[in-house]
C-alpha cells in the first residue's frame, strides 16, 4: 500500500551507560529531541507507538508511555516484533496516518537495559525474552548467542564463510561507531582483536556479539503533505515488507530467512532494486546476521555474503556502506529499541545530516530489522525524495 508518509523528526537519548535515567526518562529524552528536530511540540502528537521493555513490567506499554509524556492519543498501540519493532513502528505509523485516524505519530522505544541490573542480569533477561523455546531449547543450555552460532556454523559449512569474514563485519561497524559521538563503544578494533577475544559459543567470539546499553530513540511520522509545511527536511517512506519463516531456530533450516520476503516486498512497493540503495542499515545483533541478511535482501547471491563484506565494501567509502552509526555491535543495544537506531541513521543519511559518516549524496537508504532468531523481519526503504 502506498502510504505517502514521511519521517520529519528524530531524536536519541544519551546512549551507553546512563545510570541516572530510568526507561521512561530515556524515552522522554528521545521524544523531546525528535519533536525539537521536527519543530513540533508534544501537543501536536495525536498518535503513539512504542515497544515493550524488559527491565520493568508495563501492563500496556503504549498507555504507560503516552501517560508519562502527557499525550491523549487518537491512536496508540504497542508493537512487539522484537528487533524488527523499530522498522515496523514506522510503517504502522504510516498506515495509521493514511487511514485518517491521526496526523502525527510519535514512535519511541528504549530502556536502561545496562544500568538496571548487572550485565549478567541483562544477558539473562534477554535469554528470558523467549528467543529460545522454553521446553525444547532452554533445557539444553544455549545462550542467545548460541542460537546465532548455529546459523554461523552452518553458513560456514555450506558456503565456506570464515571467522575472518565475520570479524570484518565487527571491525567495520566499530569504525563507523567511532565516528558517532553518541555511540557506546568507539575505540577502533582490528580483526586480530575480534579473533583473539573470548570465545563465547563457537564460532562466535565476544566481539561478534552485540553489546548491552542504556538508551532510547524516537521518530515523528506524518503525511508527506504535512511534511512540506514543516521546517525539517523529511525522509520519505518509499516501501516496506515483512517476513516470517520460523519462530524458533531449533526446528528449521538456518541459512535462508524471512528477509527474502521482507526485502522483496519492500523493493516491490518502492519500485526499486538493491542496486538503487546508497546505504543499508542492517540489523547486526551478531556478525553473522549481517552476512545472512545482505544475501537474503538481494545485495549478493546466497553464500556470497562472506566475500561481500571483505575489502572495505561495507565500510564508508565502499560500494554499500552498512550500519553507518555503529549498530548493535558497537553503537548501542538497549533491547527491543535497538533496531530503531538503524531507522534514525537511515533518516540522517537521506537528509544529509550524518556528519563524518555521511555517504555522499545518499538518496535511498534501506533499513532492516530482525527479531527472534532471524525469525521476524521488517525492511524499509527511505528516500530523499517522495514518490511521484
Amino acid at each position: 500500500m502506498k502510504t505517502n508518509a514521511a519521517i520529519v523528526g528524530i531524536g536519541e537519548s544519551r546512549v551507553g551507560k546512563v545510570p541516572d535515567r530510568s526507561a521512561l526518562q530515556l524515552q522522554a529524552d528521545a521524544a523531546q529531541a525528535a519533536l525539537a528536530d521536527a519543530g513540533l511540540s508534544m501537543s501536536d502528537v495525536d498518535g503513539l507507538l512504542t515497544t515493550p521493555v524488559r527491565v520493568e513490567h508495563w501492563n500496556m506499554p503504549a498507555g504507560v508511555v503516552a501517560h508519562h509524556l502527557g499525550i491523549r492519543p487518537a491512536f496508540l498501540s504497542t508493537v512487539d516484533l522484537a528487533g524488527a519493532s523499530g522498522a515496523a513502528m514506522i510503517h504502522q505509523a504510516a498506515m495509521a496516518i493514511a487511514s485518517g485516524q491521526c496526523t502525527t505519530v510519535l514512535c519511541v522505544a528504549g530502556q536502561n537495559l545496562l544500568s538496571h541490573g548487572s550485565r549478567s542480569t541483562a544477558v539473562r533477561k534477554m535469554a528470558e525474552g523467549g528467543s529460545a523455546h522454553p521446553q525444547f531449547e532452554v533445557p539444553y543450555g544455549p545462550l542467545v548467542p548460541s542460537l546465532y552460532a548455529l546459523v554461523a556454523q552452518r553458513h560456514m559449512h555450506e558456503y565456506g564463510t570464515t571467522a575472518e569474514q565475520l570479524a570484518e563485519v565487527a571491525v567495520t561497524i566499530r569504525r563507523h561507531a567511532s565516528l558517532n559521538p553518541n555511540a557506546h563503544k568507539r575505540e577502533p578494533i582490528t580483526a586480530a582483536d575480534v579473533l583473539g577475544s573470548k570465545m563465547i559459543t563457537s564460532p562466535l567470539h565476544i566481539l561478534d556479539c552485540a553489546i548491552v546499553s542504556d538508551g532510547a530513540a524516537a521518530a515523528i511520522v506524518t503525511s508527506a503533505d504535512r511534511a512540506r509545511d514543516l521546517r525539517s527536511r523529511p525522509a520519505h517512506l518509499l516501501g516496506q515488507g515483512y517476513g516470517l519463516r520460523h519462530s524458533h531456530i531449533g526446528d528449521t533450516s538456518l541459512t535462508t530467512t524471512g528477509a527474502v520476503d521482507s526485502g522483496r516486498d519492500a523493493f516491490r512497493t518502492a519500485g526499486l532494486s538493491p542496486s538503487d540503495v546508497d546505504v543499508a542499515q542492517i540489523y547486526d545483533c551478531f556478525t553473522i546476521t549481517v552476512i545472512v541478511e545482505l544475501e537474503d535482501l538481494g545485495f549478493c547471491a546466497k553464500g556470497e555474503g562472506g566475500a561481500f563484506v571483505e575489502g572495505g565494501r561495507i565500510g564508508l567509502g565502499g560500494a554499500l556502506p552498512v550500519t553507518t552509526h555503529g549498530g548493535l555491535l558497537s553503537g548501542g543495544h538497549p533491547g527491543l529499541g535497538g533496531g530503531f537506531f538503524h531507522v534514525l541513521e537511515g533518516v540522517r543519511q537521506v537528509r544529509g545530516d550524518a556528519g563524518e559518516r555521511q555517504v555522499p549524496d545518499a538518496k535511498v537508504a534501506l533499513v532492516h530489522g530482525n527479531g527472534g532468531v532471524i525469525s521476524v523481519h521488517c525492511t524499509l526503504l527511505l528516500g530523499q525524495e517522495g514518490r511521484a
Binding site: Q135, G141, L143, V144, S146, R154, S202, G250, S253
Partner: protein, 137 residues
Amino acid sequence: MSERPLPVPDAATAPYWDAAREHRLVMPKCADCGAFHFYPRTLCPSCSSSRIEWAACSGRAEVYSYTIVHRAPGPAFTAEVPYVVATVKLHEGPHLMTRIRGCAPEAVRIGMAVRVAFDEASAEITLPVFEPAGEVL
C-alpha cells in the same frame, strides 16, 4: 549450583515428555498427509489438518549444526562447560535442538551420524540427547 531449567510439560507437549521418560522418541505426525513436524503444533504445517498423532521415531539423525558453549547462560550450567548444543535432522525429517554427548566437543562435525540417548534430568523429566552413531566420523 542452582537448579537446571527443565521443561514444564503442557497439554500439547505431555506425550513427548511422557515418551522420553520411557526412553522413546516420538514426533507429531499428520494423520491426513503423513508429514512429521516439530515443535508440536495444533495444525499440520504442511496441510493445516488438525488430525495430529504421535508417532515413534527411529532415533537416527545427523548433526545439522552445532556450537561449543564456553560461557554458561546461568549458574545451573557452569559446571558443564564446554558443552555442545546442536540441532540435528532426524531420519524422519524434523529438526530439533539437543546436546551431543559421548565424544569430545571438538570431534563433533556437521553431517555426523548420531543416535538418540536419554538424559534422566529429574524423576519427571528425561531429555533426549544424541551420541555419535559410530558410522561416520
